[in-house]
Symmetry: C2
Subunit: 337 residues, 2 copies
């Protein structure tokens, strides 16, 4: 069984042992790209994947058949599982480990063999966002799951299949980045009694130096301390810590901005590898001791991270980033592209 | 001038604005690899780089001429500078920034056009380690510099020149990863009254499940919560928080282990991109309030991070890592390769 291991120094969790028993060769070949002819995510290949967990389907169509628009399946490697329990244990007094409890799902965003999320229409993106939300609502019902990380990898990254797909990973803990964001937002709130994200929104709109795109419901901008060239965050204008609680009517406008910004980044950087990541409150945050505080201080958002330059010693050695162009410059380039 | 910007949420620093005024095209082309024919780091091309800061030379040979073994030069992009002062300031109340005070040096590890650090002999590696140390001693004299990050990028990473070279980056703050390591080590020490790294050393030697190589002075092993497949740490056996204070006699044995481990990783993963990073105490740590504590709790070491799988949403979204093979498995493969 796969293991969740805690770094004893940094309180950072690692999932490992998913390639247990497989040869090194097999490990490496599973990461090879699958060409479109043999793509198991295309419509008509429903029996080549594990049975679907959920699909947005035409009324009356049967599960695991064609006629779907968005389809959710488990990963074949079964990285995490909801079978069994955590069995928290130690190794030699220093090391903590747990069974890899959780789930790992693939959201196939289109029945067509699209390779870029930006090829979806804003209406289609709104449907994908609804699927994200339905899955978050469903996964929150399992008490072992404390967080659901939703992200989309595109391009040269760790993509086994090029057919555009997002991933939903539920975990029995809140990931380090999200805990740090909540703690950072609390510190700001204690000082100013305001949500830091709402203040950032206001200031970015006012100074208009780093805005890429804005509409009624959301703002896309290059963050002040961008880690990567052409990094863009999309913030909903209305305060809310939890993506699940956001209004469905805003999804179309979010889709417009997401499609547009991704398209600009792909144009300027000639289709770089990129990820976008949903940052939202922990599952069932309302039941946590700090639930009310999270609701006040945290603000869900999307982060788009292009990787035109690979990470090196700066990033892995210091959690310190060298980002050559100023975000004001990249915002201007994106606005004008 | 380049800027150091603080992420208002995560207390993470970014250096940006180093490509200010340059076109996007220029930004991207500076990362193109330079072929060996035009390599400015090879012996005989001393006038094609900025004047050397330091070189290990044959007695009597003049600066910026051939006859050197290891040569230290400033980077051409002048990412950080020791000219001027920090000028800490804000933008709109939310954002903090400073001038990019510090230095960025290149350590050319051989006059020959080697592309792999493992091509050096253990004796040559010992000389490189001495140069690291001399530079750390020298850079510690500047009160604006609080930390010196030493790392070596190899392969597909952000390498402008393939000729093997390390980098020394001095910063006006301690990077997030090092601060977290010191804090984590303090927590352990408060609880057990022992250095966590010394305990890890002892346990790794005793269980012998993750050991790759051991000699009189150091231990190479795959850490329990490895982030990357075939990640290896090299720990000196003798406790010490600061690389500068380690005994020169141990450098040969460290060179033996470093060369050997890098060679095994390169063999198993067919020359993956990798970094190795020196983790050591802040400059002039003795003068800090917590200087004595750092000396007790921290333990300098080298981390070797191969990047056979690129980072994706897991890593960038959660500071959470999916590392398919167990470290016990990769240690065995490296031992037997």
């Amino acid at each position: 069984m796969a293991e969740l291991r805690r770094d004893p120094l940094l309180d950072r969790w690692i999932i490992t042992g998913t390639a247990q028993g497989e040869s090194l060769e097999a490990l490496i070949t599973i990461y090879k790209k699958v060409s479109s002819q043999e793509c198991p995510f295309c419509v008509g290949k429903e029996t080549e994947t594990l049975p679907e967990i959920f699909a947005l389907r035409q009324t009356g169509s049967r599960v695991n058949t064609p006629d779907w628009q968005v389809r959710v399946i488990p990963t074949r490697t079964q990285t995490l599982t909801l079978q069994g329990d955590l069995q928290k244990r130690g190794e030699g007094g220093i090391y903590d480990l747990e069974n890899a409890i959780g789930s790992h799902e693939i959201v196939i965003v289109s029945p067509k063999h699209l390779t870029h999320f930006s090829q979806l229409s804003p209406e289609e993106i709104a449907e994908v966002l609804k699927v994200y939300r339905w899955r978050l609502q469903e996964l929150a019902k399992n008490n072992l799951c404390r967080y659901a990380l939703i992200f989309h990898n595109q391009g040269d990254g760790p993509v086994a299949v090029e057919h555009a797909h997002s991933q939903i990973v539920t975990l029995p803990f809140v990931p380090k980045t999200i805990r740090e964001e909540i703690n950072g937002a609390k510190r700001y709130y204690n000082f100013k009694m305001r949500c830091i994200f709402c203040d950032i929104l206001e200031q970015e709109i006012e100074t208009n130096k780093r805005v890429v795109l804005e509409n009624e419901d959301c703002l896309a901008f290059t963050p002040f301390a961008s880690r990567f060239p052409f990094e863009v965050w999309i913030l909903p204008k209305k305060h809310g810590c939890c993506f699940v609680e956001s209004e469905e009517e805003t999804f179309f406008n979010l889709g417009v901005v997401l499609k547009n910004v991704l398209g600009r980044i792909e144009k300027v950087l000639a289709n770089p590898p990129l990820n976008f990541i949903l940052h939202t409150a922990p599952l069932r945050y309302q039941e946590l001791d700090e639930g009310e505080i999270i609701s006040d201080v945290y603000h869900w958002h999307l982060e788009i991270l292009p990787h035109a330059l690979p990470a090196g010693g700066f990033e892995w050695g210091g959690d310190f980033y060298l980002n050559p162009p100023l975000p004001e410059v990249t915002a201007k380039i994106l606005r004008e592209s």
